[in-house]
């Protein structure tokens, strides 16, 4: 009985760690797909316009953005060497990193919320190595949220 109790505990701990690692792997897959989609989009638009975009109109990765109402008062102090900034806001704001922005731009093809069209699924699978294709299929249909063993580790031979 004691042995069973220990094994039951071990089983719960492992399942929780697998859940966390699956989420981590999904995020990595999303980032890989989002980055490749962005590069492909920019490559196609530069090819069609026969020229790179004007330097002032592009924002190179990595970046973060901070958005707030136009009515917000922002007091800003900057050190001479531009290595230190201090901002005081009198209103709410939001901070997002580039990964979040790419997802909002649709670069992760709807995989982040399980709403991926068949065409987007085909594109997404072409952007990842073969060993991850079953994962991408599971993410597209949101089916990797099961607690079954195969659902947990995302591929059938588990």
């Amino acid at each position: 009985a004691q042995e069973c109790q220990n094994l039951e505990l071990e089983k719960q701990k492992r399942m929780e760690r697998i859940r966390q690692k699956r989420a981590q792997l999904q995020e990595l897959i999303l980032q890989q797909i989002a980055f490749k989609s962005l590069v492909q989009r920019n490559q196609a638009s530069e090819a069609s316009s026969q020229a790179p975009p004007p330097p002032g109109s592009v924002i190179q990765l990595p970046f973060i953005i901070l958005n707030t109402s136009v009515r917000t008062v922002i007091d800003c102090s900057i050190s001479n060497d531009k290595c230190e900034y201090l901002f005081n806001f009198d209103n709410t704001f939001e901070i997002h990193d580039d990964i979040e922005i790419l997802k909002r731009m649709g670069m992760s093809l709807g995989l982040e919320n399980g709403k991926c069209s068949p065409e987007n699924l085909r594109v997404a699978k072409s952007l990842v190595p073969k060993s991850l294709e079953t994962y991408v299929t599971g993410m597209a249909s949101g089916s990797t949220h099961t607690s079954s063993l195969s659902g947990l580790c995302g591929d059938q031979d588990c």
Binding site: C76, H96, D97, I99
Partner: protein, 50 residues
Amino acid sequence: RSRILVSIGESFGISSSDKFSKINQMVSSSDWTLKRGYDGGSAPKPLKRL
């Protein structure tokens, strides 16, 4: 005083998204009327652009 520290500038893929969600939660959950000393009619001061 709540305070959140996060390291930024890392290459793409080293995600701090969960830290930013905590910051956004902290900021949006505060009661701004108290903060601004809001007395009803006072419009915010003229905006200072960077």
